[in-house]
Symmetry: none
Subunit: 230 residues, 2 copies
DNA sequence: TAGTGGTCTAGACCACTCA
DNA sequence: GAGTGGTCTAGACCACTAG
């Protein structure tokens, strides 16, 4: 007797797909049909097919049925390291320098990312990250002082702003956006690259429940690559 | 009456954890207890807690119960979408055009990424991906013809090279590298951007066991961002 | 509008593992 | 040994959506 666990059912269906029994893009049997042919309940088939859908092997739609995905979705577990760790991983010495710190600057894009109105006080911070005293990345950050009042008087000479925040403030969720951007005059000067140079850019906004904690833009000095395996 | 869907139950438990009702590392109520207090079946609680465990929020063990994880996992699940799906997700029509195809070109960088010597025949391919007939991304690819001889005569008018390969050749592992690069004269012309424009670039090399199948460089036309949640 | 997946329920048995 | 999660079942109703 073959096992009828959701695990076994999932692997049997996966094997059929791999064997080409169900061509790519075509519809495969419904839950009820599988349940009858495997001699198990529909609930079990449902769980097996849901797992395959989570993996990106099949695509499911009500009334539309379950179809073999034309192409599997490549997924990767990506860890975003701290800048300090990125530098130290290459055997170089990390340091950082706070270039600008104040509450004067108001940035519409930052407020939009944090979904905050003009009345919320923001601390603006610009930090240069160095590897062996050479520019490595430039960070422009805004911190919500209503959410993190203590940040206004934080000592950032030892810990960078990012590390201070990670230590002091838990965050519940975040959004990350990767892109390429041309270096502005100012950023180019700080990173010592030509204006207009292509910079790998990471935007991150972090939230504690409904309150935005901080948003930042990190511009890496070329050459820089973010590598991972799939 | 509050909803008793597994989704609602999951969020209510998550909220309690966030609120500090269950301190980190401590044991939270069992499935039966939750079911009684929420007025739903144990199956529903089970699914909710399983989801939280998948997220890394809690840790479960038979007899040991369910515990709040001391630290949430700092990882992000990054899905690399297919170009076709990226385009179609924005409601535009996808198409592609093979610009260059041949075996003449030898690229040292490509061979290095694939860890192949000069004797291995490579097929070189350049493809322009379009959204509503507008340039969307430019792909430069090399395919190992020893590993995939059939690719030499593949019909790429319907399927793009990527989709053809995934259909015909399984791959076991891959390496992805994200970076920013200035547009060369040639790429700028194809993508219709200024030479030197900052392009978000994705390099991917895929392997079947020890044999490199293909390596590719995908250059996205600005503005392009790769977004994900953490 | 009919078909398919999404989900809930109540009950049951099993497997693991802590005390 | 006993408590907890893991899982299966059979039936039911609901929600979405393709045709």
């Amino acid at each position: 007797m073959t096992a009828t666990t959701h695990h076994a059912i999932r692997e049997r269906i996966r094997a059929r797909i791999k064997a080409g029994e169900y061509p790519l893009g075509t519809r495969i049997p419904g839950e009820a049909e599988f349940a009858a042919s495997f001699g198990c309940s529909r609930t079990t088939v449902n769980r097996a097919l849901r797992a395959l859908a989570d993996e990106g092997i099949v695509e499911r739609r009500r009334k539309g049925g379950t179809r073999v995905r034309p192409l599997p979705v490549p997924q990767a577990q990506l860890t975003i390291p701290l800048v300090r760790e990125q530098v130290e991983a290459t055997g170089r010495r990390y340091s950082h320098r706070v270039v600008v710190r104040g509450t004067a600057s108001t940035d519409a894009a930052a407020r939009r990312r944090m979904r905050l109105g003009d009345d919320v006080p923001l601390m603006h911070l610009e930090t240069l990250h160095l590897a062996d005293e050479q520019p490595f990345a430039f960070e422009r950050r805004w911190v919500n002082l209503w959410a993190v009042p203590a940040f206004a008087s934080a000592d950032l000479s030892v810990l960078s702003a990012n590390e201070w925040l990670v230590r002091e403030v838990p965050f519940s969720s975040g959004e990350v956006s990767l892109s390429a951007a041309a270096a502005s005059e100012q950023v180019a000067a700080v990173l010592r690259v030509e204006p207009g140079a292509a910079l790998f850019t990471l935007d991150r906004t972090t939230w504690l429940d409904e309150a935005a904690i901080t948003t930042m833009t990190l511009s890496y000095r070329p050459p820089y690559t973010l590598d991972f395996a799939i």
